[in-house]
């Protein structure tokens, strides 16, 4: 029973790891992986000296920081609010509407975002113009606006979905605590502050730490569909750069070096984050 799965992992997970060796070679498809010449660390030297590298690294980290700072608290807030809703049907309806974008492809969501924000026909610019007299804003083509669009669209897709774990943690809080607080005359706010929030503290901590472990990853499908030529200075991240320069311009070895750099940092981040979780006395991921 286990043979197919072992073969799968060897061939499609471990073989590509071995394939990372081309970062130290001058890979050409005709020569094959073994036939290509060794060049040592040349690609890494080129990488660290190039302007592009620092640009895509900065963009990758910045987009992650924005998503973390603005995106991380939203599910917590939504879960706190949802938890106070007493009418079951209302709660369920709101939840289902908020979860929905999570199941929709980034192509569709990106297409919608671009359409809605279009300077000529987009509904957002129309509303801005008619209600506030603001001239059309080129949201998608403006380097100042693009990260905002990126962050908000990420929140749109994932914030509702992110509430699930918090709501589950809230559901496991002992109702007697609230009863006791009520008898003592504690207001709703105090109950949230002193009972609900401490009750989900460890969930928040774990999810926050896990999120930090993925600071080097940017959703490739989201970035690719939202980005365009005029905002590459802020929208080009490691993975889209590897795709464009590596595959479309066939710069295989050079971009593999970049990919390997990303994988290694990502690996170190996740492993150290796991140590951190364990130090907090929680169960780690492995």
């Amino acid at each position: 029973m286990l043979l197919p799965i072992i073969l799968f992992y060897v061939l499609f997970k471990y073989a590509p790891m071995a394939g990372e060796v081309i970062a130290f070679k001058n890979y050409r498809f005709a020569d094959g992986i073994w036939g290509s010449d060794w060049v040592g660390l040349r690609h890494f030297h080129m990488l660290f000296e190039s302007v592009d590298f620092w640009r895509v690294l900065r963009n990758t980290l910045l987009l992650n920081v924005y998503s973390l700072v603005f995106g991380f608290p939203v599910p917590i807030l939504l879960a706190l609010l949802l938890n106070e809703v007493r009418k079951e049907w209302y709660k369920r309806t709101v939840q289902n509407l908020l979860y929905l974008p999570h199941f929709i492809s980034w192509v569709v969501l990106g297409g919608i975002v671009i359409a809605v924000l279009s300077p000529s026909t987009g509904v957002v610019n129309l509303i801005l113009k008619q209600a506030f007299g603001i001239e059309p804003i080129y949201f998608m083509a403006d380097s100042a606006w693009w990260p905002v669009v990126y962050t908000l669209s990420g929140i749109w897709r994932e914030a509702g979905w992110g509430t699930i774990l918090y709501l589950a943690a809230m559901a496991s809080i002992d109702p007697l605590l609230y009863e006791a607080a009520k008898i003592d005359g504690a207001s709703k706010w105090r109950q949230i502050w002193h009972i609900t929030l401490p009750g989900i503290r460890s969930t928040i901590a774990i999810l926050l730490i896990l999120r930090m472990g993925h600071m080097m990853d940017v959703g490739l499908e989201q970035t690719l569909v939202l980005q365009n030529q005029s905002v590459l200075d802020v929208a080009d991240v490691i993975s889209t750069y590897v795709y464009r320069v590596g595959l479309q311009n066939m710069n295989y070895s050079y971009t593999t070096a970049l990919g390997l750099f990303q994988s290694l940092i990502g690996f170190l981040l996740v492993v150290s984050v796991n140590q951190l979780i364990r130090r907090f006395g929680e169960r780690g991921l492995w």
Binding site: M1, Y14, I22, L78, I114, A168, L247
Partner: protein, 298 residues
């Protein structure tokens, strides 16, 4: 004392009203862009351009859908996506079940080693280029195997399945073994019926993933006749994107290119999400359970 509690009551009532309103508004806000596209897809392009479309179709017509289906390409792309999704999901479930069952047994020899072997691939994720070279050297380009094989199993879903199987009472299996049933019979006749809920939710997750993914298709499928729905849509959006940039550059002719596809693009978007909306009611019954099992790591 009485007064303060009444004050609390009023404050709470107002807070509650505000709470319901805020949540209602945010969920409508999450839905609005999709709703707007739906309205736009049934509106005339004149109305879209003039900015008259907001919540309801203006000058209702099916023109965009007719144009979309005219050349038949979109139907081919839909059929391709259905094939990719159905076979992909079946392969996924087959492999996930086959792998999760033995891994859920503590008596399995070398279990912890195998788990480490599998977990490591979640931590160290190799880049796009080596995978691309592998698929290319295996001669899988332009076949759907280039999509299915590298994604036969999602490690995360495998662990969800394994955790679920570990939670089933062992006595059932033991009694089946006592009756002389072998591993295969226990798996197919005892375990699978018990796993129905998790099989349902994982299949839906896999299927939605296949339906929605586009990057792999973009990488590995170059023939136009083999393209998936999402890639067709992606190309459509990118076109509009390009004309939008020309427009930003101030050229007049670009406006025409930009304005025509807006309604058609909306129609394509609606077609691409409709299947998701159709399975969503079934999906939502299962996904919360799937997520919660996944979060309890074993």
């Amino acid at each position: 004392m009485k007064r303060t509690s009444r004050a609390y009551g009023i404050a709470e009532g107002m807070g509650r009203g505000f709470l319901y309103m805020f949540l209602g508004l945010s969920s409508l806000l999450a839905l609005f862009p999709l709703w707007y596209e739906l309205a736009a897809s049934f509106s005339s392009s004149r109305a879209i351009t003039a900015g008259e479309v907001l919540l309801w179709p203006v000058e209702f017509n099916l023109h965009a859908y007719n144009r979309l289906f005219e050349d038949g390409q979109i139907l081919v792309a839909m059929r391709n996506t259905v094939v990719i999704t159905l076979i992909g999901t079946s392969l996924n479930m087959l492999m996930t079940i086959l792998a999760a069952y033995p891994l859920s047994k503590r008596r399995l020899m070398g279990r912890s080693g195998l788990l480490l072997f599998i977990t490591f691939t979640m931590l160290f994720v190799s880049g796009i280029i080596p995978s691309f070279i592998l698929v290319k050297s295996l001669g899988l380009m332009d076949t759907y195997w280039s999509l299915w094989l590298p994604a036969l199993v999602s490690t995360y879903n495998l662990f969800v399945m394994k955790t679920f199987m570990e939670g089933l009472p062992e006595e059932i299996e033991e009694s089946a073994a006592m009756d002389g049933a072998g591993d295969w019979r226990i798996l197919t006749q005892v375990m699978l019926p018990l796993c129905k809920p998790i099989i349902a939710s994982l299949s839906l997750f896999y299927a939605v993933g296949w339906w929605n993914s586009y990057f792999q298709v973009l990488l590995y499928i170059t023939k136009s006749s083999h393209q998936s729905l999402m890639v067709k849509l992606y190309q459509m959006i990118n076109q509009v994107d390009a004309s939008l940039l020309n427009h930003a550059g101030g050229s007049e002719g670009a406006e025409q290119i930009l304005l025509t596809p807006e309604g058609i693009k909306a129609a394509a978007i609606i077609i691409a999400v409709t299947p998701i909306l159709c399975v969503y009611p079934f999906l939502q019954k299962h996904f919360v359970k799937g997520v919660l099992i996944g979060s309890v790591k074993g």
